[in-house]
Amino acid sequence: MTTDLLVDEAWRRATPPARLRELAADPALARIVASRIGLPADLAEELAVRAEEGGDVPRWTPVARALAAQPATAPARLARLSAHPDEGVRRAAAVHRATPRRAVKALAADPAVAVRRALAAREKLPRSVAAVLVADPCADVRLTVARRVGARPEELDALAGDPDPRVRRVLTALGRSSAADLADPDPRVRRTAVERRGHRDLAPVLDTLAGDPDPAVRALVATRWRNHDPVSLARLAEDPDPRVRAAAADNWYTPVAQLTALAADPDRRVLAELSDNRLAPPAALTRLADTLAGLADDDTAAGREPDPEEREERRRLVHAVLGHPATPPETLRRLHALELNPYFHEGNAMSQPNWPADLLIGFALDYSGRNVEGEAERASFDRIERAVGTQPPEQVLAAMVGSPVYYLSRAVANRHVPPEALAEYARAAALSPEGHDLDDLARNPAAPRDLLLGWAAENRYCSTMMENPELPVPVLAAIAGCSDDDHAAEARDLLEVRTLRAAARGETGKPC
């Protein structure tokens, strides 16, 4: 029989114990038998005796290793295996659940680090053994104790101030270190210390952290979750490292002047974060559009094509600026005219409130022209198409909002729609919700205030209202006080940012 067939036989579930005994005469097959699931305890003991008395130690050692990990091995045998000359056998015995306590204690003094480390990772580690291991000369052993799911408080306390930064980092991540971890000499510890704290905890030390020598620490400190302080953010927005500036560009609390300056940053990551910042001010978005137009002009003047990756990044930036709810109407017009985004979708423009009325009407007619069905829709579409050029754009928008053509009615998100048309849309939606998109109305800065207040009180459309760039303060205050934690917290932040920006403009009395 070939070795492969014998190996298969040694593993096969149906092989009878008598045959297993025969096969186990060969140490290579005995290792397989010793690893078998459901091995009878008597056969495990028999194999252990063979492994101990079989001579040819190198060939029988793998059998001892398998037995030291085998659930069927008896405690007394595990005690013997824990003193085996092979490190691998002792290591397996160190984590075996049935190894007697006396043997476990003895293993704490094992000369091999791998054994002591395995011991430190035991499921049940006696207090007395843990007390020895937290003072182990090898940092890997102490680290393993620190990483134990069931590490006891006194063990973690004993490891505080450990000379190895990996241990200190684990303790910091577990919240078992003091405030001194923010000044730890190792930057990875400081990063972890900053990462697990919020803006309130970090507020007193922001000035120090904004000058941290590690850019990753400074970048963490510039994020919105950790920093609501415009003064330190103004400093971080001018950091020499682009990762730090990028984090500041994405922070709602970064002052308007710095956000506007970042819109001309030479690093694309900074521009990308700024375009993602929901509270990027109109001035910053206009400057960002100018930056993108300038890059395109430079390429044209130099007669070069940006590489595909660069082109894709710029396309994403243009897409983000065109979709940002605070991009001013004329900036949208200019940027759109440059045709820098070949994937521009007219349908997407319908939910952006600032598009100039004439452009939006054109988008809507182009896009919905392909999808008009039935007589009523066709009549409405024709009427609106005829009105273009003969009626003011606002009146055309009003007609679109009341149209049965779905994509025309989505003009309800646009701020140029007359207020009475929006109010009528809301009334019609209340009578017949089907076919009306109140999420779009919630995005519109011109939406009736009472309607928004009512929704806020009922905790409805909060998510889309939060996309409304000019949501009235009383509505924000109502959302801030509602029970939905996510929106309420976001609304509180928005109110705080508006107050800070108003104060910066010298309008301390009335923030909005």
Binding site: D8, R13, G38, R91, A121, E123
Partner: protein, 209 residues
Amino acid sequence: MLTTSDWRARFDRLSDAGAYAERIGRHTQIADYLDDPDYGWYVHHGDLVVPEDLDHDVALIVDGDLVVHGFVDDYVSRIGLLVVLGDLVVRDLVSWGSVYVGGDLRAEGMVCGHYNDFVFEVAGAVHGRALVLSDKSSSYGTGELEVEIDSYDPTREQLRAAREILVPQLYDGGAKRAREGRPPKLGRPSYRRICRRLHAGKPLFRTAD
């Protein structure tokens, strides 16, 4: 049942598992997962023996053999990814996540890979009573198997053979049909029913052997 993440102290955290992707080979599907740092791979050096059923909920490389004295389910709490560079020996294996075995996979009973996310790859052969794959990207050698159900287009013969040895409760509507003295409808056994019976400690096969 033991949860792999509770054993984290036994493993090392890898900042970059790309070296293992190189070692296993870039042609494998698991290489993509090893290259992705978001999975947060752990590694265990040497053989790993788990004394009971395993809820595998992390991304783990075992640089040796893995012997589990019970079943492995990689979608109990969180989806687990498992790379065993040696042999994987288990009583049963049910996988929604990714499993890669560099050697042989030797199961006493069931090996079940389900759903089209993630992969099931065995560089050696799969041995066991039944291998049931459904909508799973897979690659393996066929070892000693009583039943094998292909991932996408199982034959009627494969489905009939499985129905012969699996308990009817593994099939949707199978228990009711059994009470009526009829066999389950010809089809795949249900992944969810397999998991449920494993966790309940109930047999998957009609006879012990």
